[in-house]
Symmetry: C2
DNA sequence: CCCAGATAGCTGTATCGTACAGGTAAATCA
DNA sequence: TGATTTACCTGTACGATACAGCTATCTGGG
């Protein structure tokens, strides 16, 4: 990459460009990995379902709109995801006692179990991928990714 | 399922779990950001088109199969992406002089210009998001993401 | 108390990215 | 040269998503 861009210390521009590149690449690779890994056996839980179950697990039962807002998804999308999850017995819908329009979505034991299995498989996968890394580097990666996500999230919220 | 995995220290398991979580989150946020950012003005170039143009830019003109292999995509997918790019004047197809079955895909000036614009916008976005970060931290993030991608890629290739 | 608006969720429809199966034409090899 | 492989395209299907429009319910000002 040449120094196309003037502003700020050139070095910083370069670094930002690298980050942009690497994030784009990671998204592509992550998708490919998920596709390759999932197709085989745990086709059981596609990406959307997994994030919904994770969120329900960590944030507790909640209704569709809340879920949609948290996940940055349209309500209709979540409605459909949730329907599929219910069909598969992974979540339950109960009428919201406090609001006749709402339904509260909660994970079923089967759903939690399924989610945990996928999570464990993914964690194992990362263990495999990062086998050669030092604990320190892993720690730093986790930390920086966390901060990156925080930054992305607060920026998304701000607009 | 505690230390199913032996090798190491519970702490390491925890770190792997965090990495798994953060990567999943990043993919979701990245999608959301792209959607939010892109819709407004540079709806000009969706994700798939962008990665294709980037690849053509960095790796030079090449035919559909090569491109598909590099991008971990099915040939038919790339065929269609390329058709759309051609329709929009962003790439050109020329018959492969060395192989009558093949077509060589190359970016047009318009395509490169468009790609550079999107790339610059994204880089600017990261500059914005990471405004509060020290150059050192940015550098480390870029470096670790690069190593993570390398690891993911070689793992994908290996199977 | 009632109605006007807001909100929760669902359904219809559309788009995008992707895969797989099957076709045709060109290349290659035994 | 004929069988096989390769490169690409087309048909079809699916998953994830958005937006628009619908119904049922809630809520706040008269």
């Amino acid at each position: 990459m040449r120094d196309d861009h003037t502003t700020g210390t050139a070095q910083d521009e370069v670094t930002l460009g690298r980050i942009e590149t690497e994030v784009a690449l990671l998204m592509r690779l992550g998708e490919a990995t998920r596709r390759a890994t999932g197709t085989a056996e745990h086709r059981v839980l596609d990406r959307a379902a997994y994030v919904i179950l994770r969120h329900l697990d960590s944030a507790g039962p909640q209704n569709v709109s809340t879920l949609a807002a948290k996940l940055n998804l349209d309500g209709s999308t979540v409605t459909r995801q949730v329907s599929a999850l219910q069909r598969d017995g992974l979540i339950a819908r109960t009428p919201d006692p406090a609001d006749g329009r709402g339904t509260v979505i909660s994970p079923t034991p089967a759903g939690l179990q399924r989610m945990a299995a996928v999570q464990a498989a993914r964690t194992r996968l990362y263990g495999d991928i990062l086998a050669a890394w030092s604990p320190d580097d892993r720690e730093t990666l986790a930390e920086l990714l966390h901060r990156l996500n925080d930054a992305l999230e607060s920026r998304n919220r701000r607009r």
